[in-house]
């Protein structure tokens, strides 16, 4: 069937150029035809923007601006991954900018959580913050009582100026780690030496695709296009997931697995591959260490019957999957972040990596065990790197576990933590153990939050500073999945009194030095676009085939030679080989082999696993709060199987209390046979007018891995066990 190709803005490549929209209107013989708006004499400018959200797709966008106002945000067709489209979140951006909910000027709250806010000037805000910092320094002799919590609200490179703000004040406490993906990063670091995935556009060349615990239909929509291309080229697509997701709905086959048992399925497959000699002995001999030990473990410890019982997947299904995967080349596994949010998540990723290695799919075009990459991030981090002031007390920053933030903040001693600076983050909505997080906030002397909207974290702050959107401040961005780099141009003047995080750092530095000379090293002025240029070095320019960074003004650039991860066998492990047997893993307290580690199980008191995945209309607490998004969905729900609902006398639409020992959520039931009987599903997000927060029930249980690569283990978000009752 012939799908009509889209046509695009002519001259879209020329950003910032004036496009006169010619009127080539066909006159229909009808009266009263409205003239196309904006045709004729209007002049429009188009700017490049780079979506900075925590998402695979990191879209290259084109923003049409008329008379200084954003009219339309769309995908940039020059980026062949984004392919001229943006997702539902990208399409809501005009509202992100012009929402009446934007925080417009600095404000002070009289009494944390009272809602008693008053407008203050930037000078008043800087003064109050600077005085508090100096007071802390005086009382404790250092800036260690100040703790920064910044992460994934904005990944654009200039936003590392937030960390720079703290460095320029002295040695501070830092929320360290990453909640989302560290177990998998460590797993791949033990196996390959680091994380590198093949260019996702290469998925189109795959003949067999396993989407393992990943839901790109909601969380990486542009990859679905390449999966569709692969299907058109005859590839088979299999989804493995506890939930029959919208992604699974697009697959040929779906395997519904008991949560957290993915490693058992992978090892069962490995057993079949070993027994039937479907492995690539030559590749293993040339490129790996420890494969004999791994095969020994599989032979002596794994049976298909065990794997079937563990996973809930029938023996013959495991056999067929293993045979097809091992004999169809190239075969691609996309390992999702969802499946590693478990106490054995890292171990499970290692077992899946092993499948790709033993079948010779590593380094193969259209193959691989693809998780993520950070190779395209080789910037200078100029905005971040600032020395501590002369004579600062201490030697280094103090790490506070981001993934156990509340408990760590409350437990900090010598010195205690007294002040929080929050930017690009919303811990009160998104961290586990909401009740404890609120307690930690209340115990502080002073809390500053930089944000766009009045969210749950801002509500518990003393001062809020209004942040700019990506459309109001220059920058540059790359992805952790594809290999494109996009310049982010200032499409419009910052609205109201909003400032970018770097501007805030400059303003604070000026005030600090005014009150106490030499107390802050952050520059007090600078041209932000020039600062973007300072992020580049010769290496990164060469990697992206750029003569000079300004070439990005002509459109996004793509990193070279990333089509196939590990195609040269250039592993970055200590042995320079693929390590099925990893001494490094052993050093971090894990088994050196990808063995199976028992999953967490439900208890009599809390018999149901509660999975809290990403929601299609938001990224964590961003986007779903906007009224444009509410027009599509304004009610959260808990998904449960009709059999489980019946057991608890629950009907469609009933209010259900989902609870465990640390808290509860009251939410409407949505019955669906796409989830398993013993599991319920609530999507993590923030509805502006609702006290809906899945994290009231989520405990800060560490995942098994993450410490090596990210400093802290991840969070086992999906090892959350609850009970339910009809309200």
């Amino acid at each position: 069937m012939n799908v009509k190709r889209r046509t695009f803005l002519k001259g879209a490549a020329v950003t910032g150029a004036l496009i006169g929209l010619g009127s080539t209107q066909t006159e229909f013989p009808f009266q009263g035809l409205m003239k196309a708006q904006g045709s004729g004499e209007s002049k429009k400018a188009v700017f490049q923007n780079a979506c900075p959200r925590n998402c695979y797709d990191t879209c290259s966008m084109l923003t049409t601006v008329e008379d200084g106002v954003i009219q339309f945000v769309e995908g940039n067709p020059q980026n062949t991954y984004t392919n001229g489209t943006v997702c539902v979140k990208g399409n809501v951006y005009p509202r992100t900018v012009y929402s009446p909910d934007r925080i417009k000027y600095p404000m002070r709250q009289k009494g944390r959580g009272t809602g008693n806010w008053e407008r203050i000037s930037w000078d008043e805000a800087y003064t109050e913050i600077a005085e508090n910092i100096l007071k802390i320094k005086k009382e404790y002799g250092s800036t260690l009582p100040i703790c920064l919590n910044k992460y994934s609200g904005n990944f654009e490179i200039m936003h590392y100026g937030i960390e720079g703000t703290m460095s320029s004040l002295g040695y501070t406490s830092r929320a360290t780690g990453t909640p989302c993906w560290p177990a998998g990063i460590d797993a791949q670091t033990f196996d390959f030496g680091t994380i590198v995935n093949s260019d996702p556009e290469q998925m189109a060349k795959s003949k067999y695709i396993i989407l393992w615990g990943v839901n790109p239909a909601w969380t990486g929509v542009h990859s679905m296009n390449f999966i569709e291309q692969a299907k058109a080229n005859g590839a088979k697509v299999v989804v493995i997931d506890p939930i029959l997701t919208n992604t699974a709905g697009k697959a040929h086959e779906f395997i519904q697995i008991k949560s957290s048992t993915d490693g058992a399925l992978a090892l069962g497959m490995a057993k079949y591959i070993l027994d039937n000699e479907l492995y690539d002995g030559q590749w293993l001999a040339n490129n790996s260490i420890g494969y004999k030990e791994f095969f020994g473990y599989v032979k002596n410890n794994i049976t298909l019957e065990w794997a079937a019982e563990k996973t809930g997947v029938r023996v013959e299904v495991i056999e067929t999957l293993a045979r097809e995967y091992a004999t169809t080349k190239p075969a691609n596994i996309w390992i999702g972040y969802g499946m590693q949010r478990h106490t054995n998540g890292g171990q499970n990723v290692r077992a899946i990596d092993a499948l790709a290695a033993i079948t010779g799919n590593v380094g193969l075009e259209g193959g691989g065990a693809n998780y993520a990459q950070l190779d395209s991030w080789g910037f200078n981090y100029h905005a971040m790197v600032h020395p501590a002031p002369e004579g600062s007390e201490g030697e280094a920053d103090r790490a506070v576990n981001m993934n156990n933030f509340a408990a760590d903040v409350l437990a900090a001693q010598d010195p205690p933590i007294k002040m929080l600076w929050i930017a690009g983050r919303n811990p009160v909505q998104q961290d586990p153990e909401t009740t404890l997080i609120k307690k930690a906030f209340r115990e502080m002397d002073f809390v500053v939050t930089v944000d766009l909207y009045m969210n749950k974290t801002v509500e518990l702050s003393d001062i809020v500073l209004p942040a700019t959107t990506p459309f109001e401040t220059p920058g540059v961005n790359v992805s952790y999945w594809h290999y494109w780099m996009t310049l982010n141009e200032r499409a419009i003047k910052p609205l109201h009194e909003t400032k970018s995080d770097v501007e805030i750092a400059m303003g604070l530095s000026a005030k600090m030095n005014e009150l106490e000379s030499g107390s802050c090293t952050y520059p007090t002025s600078g041209d932000l676009e020039e600062w973007v240029g300072k992020e580049f070095n010769d290496t990164i320019l060469e990697q992206f085939g750029l003569e000079k960074w300004e070439d990005l003004k002509n459109g996004p650039a793509k990193m070279k030679n990333k089509e196939v991860a590990w195609k040269d066998g250039d592993f970055r492990t200590p042995s320079k080989k693929y390590e099925l047997y990893s001494e490094e893993a052993e050093k971090f307290g894990h088994h050196p082999l990808p063995v199976y580690v028992e999953e967490m199980k439900s208890t009599e008191e809390f018999p149901y696993r509660c999975i809290t995945p990403h929601w299609k209309l938001s990224i964590h607490s961003q986007f779903q709060d906007l009224d444009w998004m509410e027009a599509i969905s304004d009610k959260p729900f808990v998904e449960m199987h009709p059999d489980l609902a019946k057991r608890n006398n629950i009907n469609e639409g009933d209010l259900v209390k989902v609870y465990n020992e640390i808290g509860y959520v009251t939410v409407q039931a949505k019955l669906t046979k796409t989830v398993q009987v013993e599991e319920v599903v609530m999507y993590e997000t923030w509805y502006k007018n609702l006290n809906y927060n899945v994290n009231y029930t989520v405990k800060a249980i560490p995942a098994d891995m993450g410490k090596k690569a990210t400093g802290m283990p991840g969070i086992a978000f999906h090892d959350n066990f609850v009970n339910i009752e009809k309200v």
Partner: protein, 182 residues
Amino acid sequence: MGTKMGFMVDSNRCIGCHSCSMACKNYNQLNPDIVWRTVYDIKEDAYGQPTRITMSLACNHCEEPACKEACPTNAYEKRADGIVIHHEERCIGCEMCVYACPYNVPQFDKEKKKVGKCHLCYERLDEGLSPACVSSCPTQAIYQIDVSTIGDGFENSLPGFPDPKITKPSVRFIKPSIVKKL
């Protein structure tokens, strides 16, 4: 046979991401609570095996538009190319069309006190562009078609879609394939 512009809805490619729905709001700058294109979940067991499948619907630019029939002020016009236009300046906000349309297409804007609906972005078509929803679909699951020349081999309806006999909608569908649960 004159042209009959409308939409192809390829539920085999639709991933249920809602980009189309929001692209329409983004481009047309609709009031906050107004949605001209909706992504519907098809009943999960409509094809037997429970699954998650979707269809994206906007105005179907019907051959016999019920909205136009019902409108007392002649605010609706069926163009020669088949596109059904709603002329806001003639609309008195009586909502007769809202009740008449079997697809729940015309939306009453409480602020404007008038109705509005999808007009197939005819001004974009005139410039050689696709409608905003179409150009923003990441999997090319919707596109504008001329149903008079599209030929056979497409569905006239999907589960949950009202009977096409009522208004002869200018919309064609491609059925979703259903995942095999192992």
